[in-house]
């Protein structure tokens, strides 16, 4: 290394600061060494990548071209994994080499700001697990289930190619840029790069989007638990379990996190089994049978209490439990899908591709791309990638493995959710996911409705629905919208073939419900808390007292405001005569994608500021796509004249019916229901306008910033100054031969020092 620039093409300017005495062990490999390793194609390497490409290609042919009567699920797995590997190996490497150009001679915040607590260098494989647990939740499990309405191919293509070209790129870039800025948040980066207007718009948009996301996640839980005594019992038991874990860690054995998580997990299993027994007793079935509205109120009260209680008591232990379940269950599901390899009889493109159907209204474009947000492109990740992870990363080159690789992993979760949803009978799928307004909420109504859809090969009988409900231990599975119950049926169906047989179906169903509810409630707690601090910080600009976060009254007030905001949207969804989830879910996806557009816009301004216009397309391409999708989806939601699609069209139709003195209209059977539709659609429409206007402001300011950089050629930087690193670590999951060799020298030196110390 020494005085050498990073590559022969790089300028030597500023490199002196990172010079390292050649007598010392190197802290980084030369870029030329990395290049040489990559360019060295051994026969084994050629055979490996040739094999991956062939298998991936064959899988896509099976999915997209052959499209037999049934398709085996294993092709989804192969198509996904092979495409991810190729995307990771080649595309993310291209981004690394040309756009981001990490420099391992620079210390990361974990090294130059090290405090042993918030900033602490963490092994890349462990941090990968951390980061994955923070980004993956219920989102990638729910969206693909709803999108299964359109057939298997659209969702599969979008999840796999969307992640390689957009979602993983966003996560990688945000993580890298935040790391270069000492772990600054997306909001701060927006303010630095886009100025006051863009920064403020980004902040308000983020806050509003968080409210919507928390509300709709909570709606998914309400839909999964309403009128399900078993589910209500086992999920509510997570609260005392978390309290117990919190006290155990606080007073009894501090720091024994894995130990208490295992205990918590065992208690959780007991709660699921206990739920089955209790729901079989008369008093239990009556006591734990909760209707949607009281359940929603319960979750709102819970959200408020959880956000003001000390973290150690409820939030932290619940988070441990959720992380433990996440990594375990997702691994288990992957294994089960590979073992069972279910046959999928859903067509590649369904009857509802062009004009929407009972689950998702509207055409494939743009609504497929907002229905599946998490798993393909998720703006919410930008908040995580600019939060904890950049403060823990050891070496700059590791951002590729953690940022890009972590998102590929989440995408794989989405593919598994899609496979699970596709593996169940289509008749059952539509009976479960059509709103009660369409099915009447009864078995007969559902059978009549589904059979009237005229789906090829679908002939639903009442016996199938009652038997399935009995198998999963529920009173009914008709109109259990929201995606979670459908996924749970699919998952239970796959798992029972591996463990337990059909007798275990009910256990696996409620296990799946439990783990989704656990993720969501953790996201609700954490989301409310994060939103509260954002609000306090913003209010503090006008009323300085709010900046003091230990001021009780202020904390309670701001928490109350945030909970009231998402609670109102939740109640609106629960009581919506049109079905709730199908009117609100597009808002969730649009909000999430708009956040992605905001994050990518900030990245674009940063890339321009670095003067890398030649590679600007890497950011501009996904940004343009996200912008087109979200803006056109928002415009359809605002301006469409089709009532099922446009919020204001729906509003107008119901208002006119009311004005004409009608007492029932469409699926609303009373005047009150009609008035509720008028109110809800107005709120939803206004939210759509708010989101799209804010996002457009952010994008315009980002384009202006990019243009300024182009014109002025004045490339300042908001990065922290470069500090030379004093440590070495490999960059990918497996170290390359050169990295291994250098790592071995560092290990030898560490051993020498250790023995030297002990001799003294």
């Amino acid at each position: 290394m020494g005085t050498m620039p990073r590559t022969p093409h790089d300028s030597t300017e500023g490199a002196e600061a990172l010079d390292r005495d050649p007598a010392l062990l190197a802290v980084a490999l030369d870029q030329t060494t990395h290049d040489a390793e990559e360019a060295h194609w051994t026969p084994a390497k050629i055979a490996l990548w040739g094999g991956i490409s062939l298998l991936g290609g064959l899988s896509w042919v099976m999915l997209a071209v052959v499209r037999g009567e049934t398709v085996n699920a294993i092709w989804f797995v192969f198509a996904a994994v092979c495409t991810y590997l190729i995307g990771y190996r080649f595309y993310s490497n291209y981004i690394q080499k040309h756009l981001l150009r990490p420099d391992d001679r620079r210390a990361t915040p974990a090294e130059y700001k090290a405090d042993g607590k918030d900033y602490a260098a963490t092994d890349r494989r462990v941090l990968f697990g951390h980061h994955f647990a923070a980004i993956a939740g219920a989102g990638p499990l729910v969206g693909p289930v709803l999108a299964a309405q359109m057939g298997y191919l659209p969702g599969t293509i979008w999840i796999i190619f969307g992640v390689v070209l957009a979602g993983a790129v966003q996560d990688y870039l945000v993580l890298f840029f935040s790391m270069r800025r000492g772990g600054r948040s997306l909001g701060q980066m927006a303010r630095d790069e886009l100025g006051k207007v863009g920064g403020t718009a980004a902040l308000i948009a983020t806050l509003a989007i968080m409210v919507i996301i928390v509300a709709i996640l909570a709606l998914v839980v309400v839909n999964a638990l309403a009128a399900s005594p078993w589910g209500v019992f086992s999920v509510s038991m997570t609260i005392p379990i978390a309290l117990f874990m919190g006290c155990y860690l606080r007073f009894f054995r501090p720091g024994k996190v894995s130990e208490i998580s295992i205990i918590g997990f065992v208690l959780l299993l007991a709660a699921i089994i206990g739920g089955g027994m209790i729901s079989n007793t008369e008093w239990g079935a009556a006591f734990f049978h909760v209707d949607p509205v009281p359940l929603a109120i319960g979750i709102i009260v819970y959200g408020f209490v959880a956000a003001i209680l000390p973290v150690w008591l409820l939030l932290a232990p619940r988070d441990y439990l959720s992380t433990f379940m996440k990594i375990g269950t997702i691994g288990m599901l992957a294994l089960a899908i590979i073992i069972v390899r279910p046959e999928i009889s859903v067509p590649a493109f369904s009857e509802f591709t062009a004009n929407g159907g009972p689950v998702v209204s509207g055409s494939l474009f743009p609504f497929l791309f907002v229905t599946i947000a998490c798993g393909a492109l998720s703006g919410f990740h930008a908040l995580i990638a600019s939060g904890t992870t950049p403060k823990l990363i050891e070496k700059e080159r590791q951002t590729r493995f953690i940022g890009y690789g972590g998102m590929l992993m989440e995408s794989f979760v989405a593919i598994m959710a899609l496979v699970a949803a596709l593996s169940i009978d289509r008749g059952i799928y539509f009976a479960m996911n059509s709103s009660p307004a369409l099915t009447g909420g009864t078995v007969e109504g559902a059978v009549a409705f589904v059979n009237s859809l005229g789906l090829t090969g679908v002939n639903l009988t009442p016996e199938v629905l009652t038997q399935t409900a009995k198998d999963v231990g529920e009173a009914s599975i008709v109109s259990r919208t929201g995606g979670a119950p459908t996924l749970s049926v699919g998952l239970a169906n796959i798992m029972q073939q591996v463990v337990g047989g059909s007798g275990m179906m009910a256990f696996w169903y409620h296990f799946a419900i439990m783990f989704e509810a656990l993720f969501i409630l953790t996201a609700v707690d954490a989301g409310t808390r994060v939103a509260r601090f954002m609000l306090q910080d913003s209010l503090g600009n006008f009323f300085p007292k709010f900046k003091n976060t230990s001021w009780r009254a202020g904390a309670w007030l701001t928490t109350g405001i945030m909970v009231a905001a998402w609670g109102a949207v939740l109640i609106m969804g629960v009581t919506d005569p049109l079905g709730g989830i199908n009117t609100l879910f597009p808002l969730f996806g649009i909000a999430n994608q708009l956040l992605a557009a905001i994050a990518l816009a900030v990245c674009m301004a940063i890339v321009a500021k670095r003067g890398m216009f030649k590679y600007l397309w890497i950011v501009a391409l996904p940004l343009a796509f996200a912008a087109v999708v979200t803006i056109s989806a928002s415009f359809l939601k605002i301006f469409s004249t089709i009532p099922a699609v446009g919020y204001f069209a729906q509003n107008r139709a119901f208002s006119e019916a009311l004005a004409a003195g009608e007492t029932s209209f469409g699926t609303a059977k009373t005047v009150e229901a009609m008035e509720a539709v008028v109110r809800n659609t107005m709120v939803q429409g206004i939210l759509s306008i708010l989101f799209v206007v804010l996002a457009i402001i952010v994008m315009v300011t980002a384009i202006q910033a990019t243009w300024r950089s182009w014109k002025s050629r004045d490339f300042g930087t908001n990065e922290d100054p470069a500090v030379p690193s004093q440590m070495f670590a490999p960059s990918g999951f497996l170290p390359t031969p050169a990295e291994k060799e250098l790592g071995a020298r560092w290990d030898a030196r560490a051993r020498l020092e250790k023995s030297g110390r002990s001799k003294r």
Binding site: G116, L315, A316, D319, C374, I384
Partner: protein, 71 residues
């Protein structure tokens, strides 16, 4: 290495990974950091937190600096 040793190593690696991801090693990391910064336990060195103090401090810091969890 025979099969038993391999299995043992696999179990050890798994335990290391799980503990790392769950955060069991936070105190060890803090202590190692503290010792590397203040190798001589002189009077001027700030006192190192005990394990119990550290974990309290950690959750108290999370109280005012919450981590987001994604959907």
């Amino acid at each position: 290495m025979n099969t038993v040793e391999l299995l043992k190593k696999g179990a050890r690696d798994l335990a290391w990974f799980v503990k790392g991801v769950m955060g069991d090693d936070a105190y060890d990391k803090y202590k190692a950091h503290h010792e590397s910064r203040h190798p001589s336990a002189g009077a001027d060195a700030p006192p190192v937190m005990t394990e119990r103090e550290f974990w309290r401090d950690q959750t108290d810091r999370q109280d005012t600096n919450p981590q987001g969890r994604c959907c």
